[in-house]
Amino acid sequence: MSAPFDTHPAGPTAHPAAGPVAPEDARIADKPALRRFHQASWDEKLIFELGSPGERGVLVPDVDPEITEALGGAVEVPAALRRTTAPALPEIGQQQVLRHYLRLSQETLGADLNVDVGQGTCTMKYSPKVNDRFVTDERIAGLHPLQDESTVQGVLEILHRLEGLLKEVSGMDRVSLQPGAGSAAIYANVAMIRAYFADRGEARTRDEIITTVFSHPSNAACAKTAGFKVITLHPDADGYPDIEALRAAVGPRTAALLITNPEDTGIYNPRIAEFVDIVHAAGGLAAYDQANANGILGITRARDAGFDLCHFNLHKTFSTPHACGGPAAGACGVTEALAPYLPRPTVEYDADRGRHRLDGDRPHSVGKIRPHHGVVPNLVRAYAWIMSLGADGLREVAETAVLNNNYLLHKVKQIRGVSVPYATGRPRVEQVRYSWEQLNADTGVHSEQIGLRAADFGAHYWTSHHPYLVPEPMTLEPTESYSRADLDEYAAILAEVAREAYEDPETVRTAPHRSTVHRVRPEALDDPARWSPSWRTYRRKVLGAADAT
C-alpha cells in the first residue's frame, strides 16, 4: 500500500514498523525504534527574490568624527577603487535573513542533525564545537594573511606544530598545510612528482600515473589535470588491488602510483609495501591517498610502507568541518627527497632567534596551491583536535571507528537482500561498500531508491562513486563519533526499508514521502545549458530573463 504523503504517521495508516504510538505520558524508552520523522517544507524563495528596495540588515555608521579629525578632513575611498554601480545584493533585514537560512537548514540533512554514517568515504565525524571557539576568537579571526610575520608568531607556531604532529602520524619528513582540500592535496602531490622528474630530465619519458579504480577518482583526475596519462587498475577477484596488473602496468614510463589503502571498499591491502616496491623498482614514486586514514591512525604509517608522498584530508580524519564542499583542509607529507618541491611558503622555525618565519625562497617549489598559508581556521581546529586526544587518543579513534564499522557490518549483513562483496568473511577497516544486488534482483528496487526512502526516516545515505563497480552499491562509514544507539537506529532504518522493498516496493520506489518534496533531476546537473550555479544564470536559464547575461 503506497502512502505518498504520509503526514499522519500516528494515525490509523501509520506504518506498523513505526511502533506503538506512545501515550501522552510515555517514557523515553517507549519511543519506537524508528522515528516518526517528517521534514519541514517551507517552499522558501531564493534570497534574491526576498526583501525590497531600501531594506537593510546593517546600517553602516558614518566615520567616527575623531578619525576624520585625525586624518585631517573627509575620509573617502580613493576614486580609482570606488564602484560606479551598487553591488546587486539582496536588500533585506537581519531577521528575514536569519529566518531564511534557518528554514533552508530545516530542509536538509547534515552532520549535526542526523546519524550521518550513510555518507561513506567522507568520514563524517563530530567536529567539536569547542574548536570553533578558538577560530572565532579575535586572536585568530582578526588576523590578516598579509600581516608581517613578526605580528603572527602565534599562528605560525600552531602551523609549525601541526606540521610536526602530522609528520609523526605519517612518518614523513616534511608536511605542507597549504592545500584547501583532499583534491588540492592530491594535485599538490602530483605537481611535486612532475617537478621531481623534470629536475631529473625525465619529465617527457615518465608520463604515466597508475591508480586503482577503488581509489578516489580525484587521483586519476588530478594526474590528468597535471598532464599525465592515467592507467587505472581494476581489482582482483577478491577485491584487492591487483598486484599482477600493477606488474603489467609499470615500466620506464611510470612516474608514480597513486593509491588509497584501505580502498573505498574498506578492505585493507596487506601487500601495500610490495606495491610500493614494484613501483620503486621501475623508477617511479608512490603516493598514498590517506583520505581513508581514520581506521589506521596510530596503527600504520605511510612511511612504514615505503611511500614517498601522502596526504590527509583534515576535514575527514582530523574532524574539521566539511563545510558543504569547502573550504576544507588538506595536508601533504613527503620524504626529504621531495621536500624541495613542496608548495611555498613553508613555515620554518629559527631556533637561534626563537622565531617562526615563512620561507618563500624555494626555487624548486611547485608554487602556491592556494593563496597564503592554507585554510588557517581549519588548521587550528585540526591542531586542537589532535592535541585534545594525544597519541593514545588518536589510536583509540581508529580502534573505535573500526569497531563501530564492524558492529554495523555485523548488523547490516543480516538484512535480507544485502551482501558484502569481495574478501568474503574478512572484517573491514573503517567503512564498507555493500551491495543490494540481491534485493534488486528480487524486488526491482534500486540502491538510490533505498536512499530516498531512508531520508523519510531522517537518515542520509550514499551509493558510491560512478560508475558503479559494485552493483547497487551502498557505502557506510560510521567513524568513532556514533554511539551504539545511533548505529542500531541506522541499521533498523535499513532493515525497515529492505522489508518494505520486499513487501511494499511501491512505497520505496516512490519515496521520499516525508521529506521536503523534491528529487534532484540529474539532467539539470549534467547539462551545461541548464545548470545554474548562480542567481544570474538561474535568471537567464531557468526564468528566461532577457536582461541577465
Binding site: V213, A220, K229, T232, H234, D242, E244, A248
Partner: protein, 441 residues
Amino acid sequence: MIRLGLVVNPVAGLGGRVGLGGSDGTRTQRRALERGAVPCAVDRSTAALAELARRTRDVELLTASGAMGEASARAAGLPARVVHRPRRPGATGPRDTVEAVRALADDVDLLLFAGGDGTARDVLEALGEEARLPVLGIPTGVKMHSAVFAVNPRAAGEIAAGWASGSGGPRLRPAEVMDRDEAELRRGRLTSRLYGWLPVPYVPVRVQQRKAGSTGASPEALGGIAAELASRAGAEDLLILGPGTTTRAVAAALGAEIPLTGVTALVRAGGGNGCGASHCGDCPSACGCAVADRAVPRAPDGALPPLGSPRAALAPPPPRPPGAAAHPPPPGLPPYRTLATHLTSAHLRALARHHPLLLALSPVGGQGFLLGRGNQQISPEVLRTLAPGKLLVLATEAKLAALHGRPLLIDTGDDALDAELSGYATVLTGRGRTALYRLSH
C-alpha cells in the same frame, strides 16, 4: 550415471567468418557457403564433448544422428545412443532442432545444445516457457546475446562434467534467451529482445552473461576514446573496427559513419587511402588493393560501396541514431573515412598483406566478450597478422564497471591463441586514460 542429451545445429555459426552477422535462414546459409564458409558447429561441439570425456565417462549420451550430434560424439570418442533422425540430414533447419529436443527432453537430465541465439530460441520453443530441464549451450553461433551459453566449448564440457558428478555441482539459475532485435537494428539501434528463460547450471565466469543494453555513453567520453585511438594509430594503419554501439560512436567521432554490425575498415581521409608505397608494392594501382581477388573499391566522397556487404553494393548509409548526430571530429583529430564494411575473414587477411592493421574492438556490454561473439570474421589467422600492440580495446569506464569485476573474454576457436592473448588488456577509456583489465578465455 546421468543421461546427457546433445543436439547440434550443424549450420550454426556458418555466417561468422564470412561476415554475415548470423546464419539464420537457408538463403543466408547458401550465401555463406558461396563465400567459402566452413561449418564449425560439429568441431566446436566435439571440443566440448572431448573436455567432458576427459573429466568423466560416467554419462550416458543421447543424441540425434549425423551432424546433429552423433558425429561430434564419435569424434570425441564418446559412445552415444541415437534417438532422433532428421528427415533431410544434409539440410537441417529450426524444425529439426525443435523435434530433436522434444525427442530427447523426457529422457535426459541435462541437455547440451550447440548453436547460437537462433538455436537457443528453437530450444526454448521445444521445451516451452515452463521448462524444468537443465540446459546448457555450447557456443557455436555467430552472436550470442543469450545467457544460456558456456563461455567456450571446453567450458561447456567442464560444466557438464561437474553436473554429472552430482553433489556439489553447479546450481541452476534461469538464464535469458535473447536475440538481436532486427526491427530496432533497422532503426539504427543495437538491442536484444528477450524471448524467455531456460534453467542453466551456472558457474561464474564459465557461463556467460546476457548482453546488456547500451549504457548510452556520453559523446564526450566516446570522443575522448576516439582521440586516444587516433593518437595510437599510425598514419598508414588501416583501422579495423569491430561491431557495436561503442565502435560506431567512436567512428562517428572520427568523422566516419559505419554500420552497427559487421567489421569495418577505416582509413585516414586524404591519406592516399591509407596506402603508402612501402606497403603497397603489389597493389595493382594507387589504391585498388587486391583483396580477396577483388579490388578494394576506391571510395568516392559520400556514398561508399561497401566491400563484401551482404546487401547491395550501394547500401544506404546506416540511419543515424537520435542523439548521436554528426559530432564533428574533436579539434586536432585526423578525420577518417570508411574504406569497406562487412568484411570477411578472407578480406581481412588480404588487407593485412598490404597494410598494417590496427584492430579496435569493444566488449559486448555486460558479457565482456571481445572475440568470438558476433565478430568471428576476426579469425585466428587475422589476429596472428597483427603486430604487437595493434589490438586495442575500447570501452567507457561505465561499460567496464558494468562487468562488475568479471574478466573480458575471448573465444577465437584457437585455444593456443586464446591462451596467448589472455592476461591483461589495455582498454582505452578516454583521452590519455586507459584501464588494465583482466582478459580470460
